[in-house]
């Protein structure tokens, strides 16, 4: 709560709000307002009416009639045509500010003068008169030279044809409804005008000027001018009215408003559009009422404007893509292709659209609108009273909105949650936009809503960003504070062997160098526990902070290799050389399995690797058989298998016999089940099953006797081995020591040997009842012992088959070949024992191992 105020959210809101208040007039915000205005204009739709037509001086016209500027005869003819068609008003936007003098006309005038001199004094006055008014009828005087008269007539004709100004003047006077345009020079007057405006211009000034709102004092006057370029008197005199054709582009250069009135040294002159509209309503300039600061009253039409008497023109959209005002090519009308009768009683606007003479303007509805069209929109706006106004209260409304948004940013937003804040902001923004469009389209009012909207958006973005950053900061701070307890917890968990929990806690602490030490120790602990994937995770996490810390790079790689080994190589099939290689690598922490240090790999058993290990507490060397149960079994049966495994291991652990390998311990670490047992020198009997490496009969008999006695002992404890075969009998040739290994655990996978196949190997030593899946007892082991006996004596298995199916069939149904056919040295007595051991029916076999041992001894006694 002791935050300094300039860091507070409300202060940020205040600053951004004030910034927007003072930057309200800046180009960016005003540009934004203009964009909003243009959208509003485009969204509005009104009927433009059909009283206005445009005759465009387009490329086609110029191509056919001739280079611009045209002879004013052309204009004269067009004026005549339109007058003939009884157009209501003809507005011509072409400036006639300079006389058009044909080079030939000068010569005609000289010739006329010459003829005049030659004709003598009498007619001089008359000629002079006609010269002044070119269209005056040629006067005829009697008593002159007929040749000279003819020449004079010709000259008069030529003069009137070439004096285009005179011709046009005549047409304008004839039509009586032509409104002409003139440009004013805009500027602040410093003194008095050079000379008063000619009468034909000044008669257009607006007569009724009233100031009801004190606009004059407030300086809210129309745009001032310092000069004017009127049409030449010849054309200005006969024109019905003259209006200014000045535009006042907006801040961004676009045309949005029409200055209806310009001020010229205290006089007020109407725009061309207003003159045309007035003319259409049969009103004179004197009838137009100027209300300074408010607008213009045109007969019954009330045109509200901004304080500078500029009307925000309504721009009409044409329906179905057609232009809203019909535009005809000048040439088409001129050449009669378009019947001129269509202009009866209409306002006809003539203006240039061709490239180069009618430069396009930017307007709200179009980026390139020809000036003549803009004029048409203005005229229509006035006549339809369609325009946008900024009401006098707009300023206060805009300020009010600003205040509202500012208050929202300062007071409410900092207290809202992100979601609620976003909702409120979006709703406010929606209201602003909707209000803007409603006012524009329905009320024809323009309020500057874009600035408040921008303030809303920018303010919201700014505050949420700020809040996000500050929150992050706050998080970092409180993280550092809670780090202490997490760190202590981690150490506590680590000391209690809860490495996973320790890792979780440590990860919540912000990383620093002292923490790296803790992580490092944790990683080593994981390695010791052979949880290499976890160790890898720890080292990888450390490497993100500092990959060069101590030797973690090396450790990371090693852990990764080990993790893969442990995880993928649990079964012998998937084991890679890395398993051996890394264990030989002395730089690794001595891996631990349970309480045993793993010293080296001894070999690969059916279900996993066998290691030589050491119990560090008592220094006893042990053999550790591992079984990656998780890889051998589906998760759903894993629990069951584990339970069975430990049950069997427990049972087998109780066996204590000189010919049975002693089990010390069984355990499980991360899905690796293991059994620690007596470490034996020697090796198993597999090598002695090869025909060329057979042991002597005596030795074989001795082995079988010892094994049979071991089995007898085990069977008396109801422990069945289930997997008696040469590979499970350890034999030390020097001492003749025999040990049966893998009691109880060998066939732990009986139920699921389908999974990998490699567990199974071949069932060559299995008894028929075991193959059949029946419940087996000790006699099954004795059958297997018989198979082994047979093989050790003969070097061949009693039952063989190309496929598993044949093999199983033979074991179950076929008699084995008599052993004596394979090894004639075998006494008939021993042969009988083997035959009895290999009985298919368990009831006909020896019931106990002890009987076999006794029989063999007796046999040997007989022979020996």
């Amino acid at each position: 709560m002791k935050k300094t105020f300039w860091k507070a959210d409300w202060f940020a809101g205040l600053v951004i709000s004030l910034l927007f208040l003072f930057a309200g007039g800046s180009a960016i915000l005003q540009g934004l307002e203009r964009v909003a205005y243009d959208w509003g204009v485009r969204a509005s739709s009104r009927d433009a009416g059909d009283q206005i037509s445009i005759i465009a001086i387009d490329e086609q016209s110029i191509a056919n009639i001739g280079r611009w500027p045209w002879s004013r005869n052309v204009h004269a003819e067009m004026t005549d045509m339109l007058a003939g068609a009884k157009a209501k008003v003809i507005g011509n936007t072409v400036f006639f500010t300079e006389p058009q003098i044909d080079p030939g006309l000068a010569y005609i005038r000289k010739i006329t003068e010459f003829v005049q001199d030659a004709a003598g004094q009498g007619s001089e006055l008359a000629i002079a008169d006609t010269e002044e008014v070119a269209s005056a009828p040629v006067q005829d005087e009697s008593g002159h030279n007929p040749l000279l008269d003819g020449l004079r007539t010709l000259l008069d004709e030529a003069r009137s044809a070439l004096s285009t100004d005179a011709r046009l003047s005549h047409s304008i006077a004839n039509a009586g409804n032509v409104v002409l345009a003139m440009p004013f020079v805009i500027g602040e007057p410093r003194g008095n005008p050079d000379k008063p405006l000619p009468e034909y211009v000044s008669r257009n000034q607006l007569g009724k000027v009233m100031d009801r709102v004190g606009a004059g004092e407030a300086g809210l006057l129309p745009i001032p001018t310092i000069g004017v370029l009127p049409p030449i008197p010849e054309l200005g005199e006969p024109a019905a009215a003259i209006g200014h054709l000045n535009v006042n582009p907006d801040v961004d250069g676009a045309i949005r408003s029409e200055p209806l009135v310009l001020e010229h040294y205290g006089q007020y002159y109407p725009s061309l559009s207003m003159q045309i509209a007035a003319r259409y309503l049969n009103l004179q300039p004197q009838d137009i009422e100027v209300r300074l600061g408010e607008g213009v009253r045109l007969g019954k039409l009330n045109i509200a404007t901004d304080p500078y008497l500029q009307m925000n023109t309504f721009f009409y959209e044409g329906a179905d893509g057609r232009p809203v005002f019909p535009v005809d090519s000048f040439y088409d009308v001129y050449s009669g292709k378009i019947p001129v009768e269509k202009y009866r009683d209409r306002i006809v606007l003539i203006g240039a659209t061709a490239e180069g003479i009618g430069d396009a303007q930017v307007t709200p509805i179009s980026p390139a609108m020809k000036p003549i069209e803009t004029l048409a929109h203005s005229v229509a706006s006035i006549l339809n009273e369609d325009f946008f106004i900024s009401p006098t209260w707009a300023f206060w409304a805009e300020r009010g909105l600003w205040l509202l948004i500012a208050l929202y940013l300062i007071l409410l937003l900092p207290r809202l949650r992100a979601g609620a804040a976003a909702t409120v902001t979006v709703v406010l923004l929606g209201l602003l936009i909707a209000g803007h469009f409603y006012l524009m389209t329905q009320q024809g009012m323009w309020l500057q809503f874009a600035s408040p909207a921008a303030l809303l958006l920018v303010g919201h973005a700014l505050l949420t960003t700020k809040r996000f950053l500050v929150t992050e900061q706050g998080k970092v701070k409180s993280e550092a504070e809670s780090a202490e307890s997490n760190r202590n917890l981690a150490l506590m968990f680590q000391s209690q062997g809860q490495l996973d929990m320790a890792f979780d806690r440590l990860r919540k602490c912000p990383m620093d160098d002292s923490l790296m030490d803790l992580f490092y120790n944790l990683g080593l602990d994981f390695e010791r526990k052979r949880q290499f994937n976890k160790a890898e995770a720890v080292f990888a996490y450390m490497a993100e902070y500092n990959p060069k810390y101590k030797d973690i790079e090396q450790r990371l790689n090693r852990s990764r290799a080990m993790a893969e080994t442990i995880i993928l190589g649990g079964g012998s099939a998937g084991r890679t050389n890395a398993g051996t290689l890394i264990l030989d690598d002395g730089t690794v922490e001595k891996p631990m399995l349970g309480r045993y240090q793993i010293e080296k790999e001894l070999g690969k058993g059916a279900m996993g690797v066998v290691y030589q290990g050491r119990d560090p507490k008592i220094g006893r060397v042990v053999a550790i058989k591992t079984m990656a149960l998780a890889q051998e079994f589906e998760p759903d049966e894993l629990e069951d298998v584990k339970a069975r495994f430990f049950r069997e291991a427990e049972t087998a652990g109780r066996l204590n016999h000189p010919n049975i390998v002693t089990m010390y311990d069984a355990g499980e670490e991360h899905d690796l089940a293991y059994i620690a047992m007596e470490f034996l020198k020697g090796q198993d009997l597999t090598p002695y099953t090869k025909p060329d490496n057979l042991l002597s009969l005596d030795k074989v008999a001795d082995i079988i006797i010892k094994t049979a006695e071991a089995l007898d002992y085990a069977h008396s404890y109801n422990v069945v081995h289930r997997d008696i075969k040469p590979a499970n009998i350890m034999y030390e040739p020097e001492t003749g020591n025999v040990k049966v290994t893998d009691f109880g655990i060998a066939r732990i996978t009986d139920s699921s040997r389908t999974k990998t196949g490699m567990v199974l190997g071949t069932p060559s030593y299995m008894s028929p009842e075991q193959l059949a899946g029946k419940k087996v007892d000790g006699r099954s082991d004795l059958f297997s012992l018989g198979v082994m006996f047979y093989q050790l004596v003969s070097g061949q298995l009693p039952f063989t088959g190309d496929s598993m199916a044949t093999l199983m069939f033979k074991i179950a149904n076929e008699e084995h070949a008599n052993i004596r056919t394979l090894n004639p040295d075998v006494s008939p007595c021993l042969s009988d024992i083997i035959d009895r051991m290999l009985e298919k029916d368990a009831d006909k076999r020896y019931a106990r191992g002890a009987e076999i041992a006794a029989d063999i001894r007796r046999c040997l006694g007989q022979v020996g």
Binding site: M1, L411, L412, R415, L416, R417, G419, A420, T423, V424, T471, G474, K475, S478, E481, S482, S485, N486, N488, L489, M492, F493, Q496, G497, Q498, M501, R505, K508
Partner: protein, 274 residues
């Protein structure tokens, strides 16, 4: 909400006269307004482990949960302060942590701990407890025990088998019926109380309450309430003087000023928006 300045907190833990290890653990974080006290049990230092894990876990979890937490909200389902649920979650985490350690470490088997925690927020104190560590409130000269022990004695007293006087003489003083880390799950008993400035809250292990009568505690707080440091030392001293058979731990917290979560018309408006 940051309660720095609204609370004054003093912690003190003493091994006592008879024990070799201090199996109590105390922790507090004034910024989030949390006080935690745990009394561990279990042989071979396991009690220390349990109480330490429990307090540290509570602290770490609540610190994390209360960052960016809007104070003063009511949980619509239970009608409790939303922070109460955080307290329950944190206690569950603590229980799980202790339990998993005791399960996997033979020397820690069977370890557990009592737990009493007070979380101050929005002019309230949320009191959660498991076991026989207590929380007292000292207000206007009177001492009131706000927690009811989860102990055999307490249950016997509740069912009318023992009177208060008999209970003091009972041999089964240390049998708790609920503890952290014994079972996979444990229920935190939680209550909410309003606080007023001037209140003093006392969290203590049974090492204090077994040795010192409530009347003496009340007298001590009445006399030394203006100096919490001295009051805490005095309480521990009294327990040791009376025999100090167990570890003695106390946390004293005095409310200096109100700490309501800001609630005004716009908060309501905001709540309405949500």
């Amino acid at each position: 909400m940051n309660l720095t300045g609204a609370l004054e907190v003093v912690r003190l833990s003493d091994v006592g006269c008879h024990r070799e290890h201090n199996e109590d653990a105390v922790a507090s974080d004034i910024e989030i307004g949390l006080l935690v006290l745990a009394d561990g049990m279990g042989g071979y230092r396991a009690g220390e482990v349990a109480s330490e894990i429990a307090t540290l876990t509570m602290l770490a979890e609540l610190k994390e949960a209360l960052t960016d937490f809007d104070p003063g909200q009511i949980d619509p389902v239970t009608g409790m302060q939303a922070e109460s649920l955080l307290l329950i979650d944190a206690a569950a985490k603590a229980n799980a942590s202790v339990y998993s350690v005791s399960e996997s470490q033979p020397q820690c088997a069977g370890m557990g701990t009592t737990l009493v925690a007070a979380l101050f927020t929005n002019n309230k104190v949320l009191v959660g407890h498991i076991g026989d560590s207590r929380l007292y409130r000292f207000r206007e000269g009177g001492l009131e025990q706000l927690t009811e022990d989860h102990s055999l004695i307490q249950e016997q007293m509740n069912s009318g088998l023992l009177t208060r006087e008999e209970a003091k003489l009972s041999n089964n003083k240390n049998l708790v019926t609920r503890a952290v880390g014994i079972d996979p799950e444990v229920e935190l008993e939680i209550h909410e109380y309003d606080v007023v400035p001037g209140d003093i809250f006392l969290l203590c292990s049974d090492g204090l309450t077994d040795m010192v009568d409530d009347e003496d505690i009340q007298a001590t707080l009445a006399g030394l309430g203006s100096d919490l440091q001295a009051a805490a030392r005095r309480l521990v001293q009294m327990a040791n003087d009376n025999g100090g058979k167990d570890n003695i731990s106390v946390i004293l917290a005095k409310v200096l000023k109100p700490f309501a979560a800001e609630k005004s018309w716009y908060d309501n408006f905001i709540n309405w928006l949500k």
